[in-house]
Subunit: 216 residues, 2 copies
């Protein structure tokens, strides 16, 4: 099939296109932890294989088959993360690295059985949607907590920052997926959000709020 490395590039391009509508050489280098020169080489190779559309100096997009592969990797990543948390009882901040390896296990039959074993979960532990076996991804229209209006209530549905530090912070402050919160105001001093989670009231920084994705 495709190499581990090719899969990682396709995945990185997929995520970049989703987040910023563009995928440039430098962005891809940053995302894959390589240098721009290496990226250029790989882009030529992926274009050769018709997995990306590439014209030099122009950035890239995925072809249909490139996107199919990328979504397959994302599906595997998220299903394995779900497995690790739901079945093996890892915490949500512990699973990323393992899933980075597991997502390259090639068998699609394996991943489909795993999906079935877990009852076809819709979302991974960070609230990201799990593509189905045909590559379809459900789209919830979430918004950053930063954009909630005063007295607006919503449910924490996903997080935009997957770093262990952020996830541990959320865990500690009970800002976990499924929790319902209400914005009761802003602090004068630093415009931090004042939240109410039905038990008590507390503040979160604008940076934290930005990375909390809310289903209104």
């Amino acid at each position: 099939m495709h190499s581990f490395t090719e899969e990682n590039y396709l995945k990185a391009i997929f995520h970049l296109l989703l987040k910023t509508q563009s995928a440039t050489t430098n962005e891809i280098a940053a995302a894959t932890g390589t240098k721009a020169a290496s990226v250029t080489d790989m882009l030529k190779k992926l274009a050769e294989k018709k997995l990306i559309n590439y014209a030099r100096y122009q950035g890239v997009t995925l072809t249909d088959s490139g996107e199919r592969i990328a979504v397959g990797i994302v599906r595997k990543h998220r299903l394995w993360e779900h497995f690790l948390v739901d079945k093996l009882k890892f915490k949500w901040d512990e699973v990323h690295e393992m899933a980075e390896e597991l997502e390259h296990i090639s068998s699609t039959e394996l991943i489909n059985r795993l999906d079935e074993f877990m009852g076809h979960p819709q979302f991974d532990p960070h609230g990201d949607p799990i593509p189905d076996c045909n590559g379809r991804i459900s789209n919830q229209h979430l918004q950053s907590a930063l954009h909630l209006k005063k007295d607006q209530t919503g449910k924490i549905a996903a997080v935009a920052d997957h770093s262990p530090a952020f996830l541990q912070y959320l865990e500690k402050t009970q800002l976990t997926i499924g929790q319902t919160i209400t914005v009761t105001g802003l602090t004068d001093y630093d415009m931090a959000l004042v939240l109410n989670n039905s038990q008590n009231e507390f503040n979160i920084s604008r940076e934290v709020a930005k990375n909390l994705l809310i289903l209104v």
Copy 2:
């Protein structure tokens, strides 16, 4: 840690030493699907890292740390095979290739959790013992069905050939792990073994018998 490739060499050497008491360049080449020249290169590298004892033209043995790594890979392979069969309902002839990939997932915490999730199984689907988290491997003294005496009874405990063809044959003839069999004689024509499995009587070739491992 160690590369995928290094791990495969160590595993191959481990299995060869177990089976034939020796691991020569050509044997390793055959086991890893490479050429002798490539093996020599890798042996130098593994010796450099003190994972094997190597003197040229002399074959190799594993050092303690080499063996520790090899046993770790075997543990992962067998636990994943157990998972695939026990939890994901794959057949015992379908899991080898997937386990060949899964055995290289690096996290030992993951494999220990998987072990616990499955209730610390002792044997994999082919009857091979699963090393514990300290690398200890239980040793049942099995013997090939070929060496059973007339009227001797035993229980099928493992198989020496893991090929899908062999496993499917056993499945079809109900010669699966746990079955109790009795040797009631030999055919005059080709010395095939006449077996009785408490329900009916049938013959198996000496080749098949050789690969059936029995707990007497």
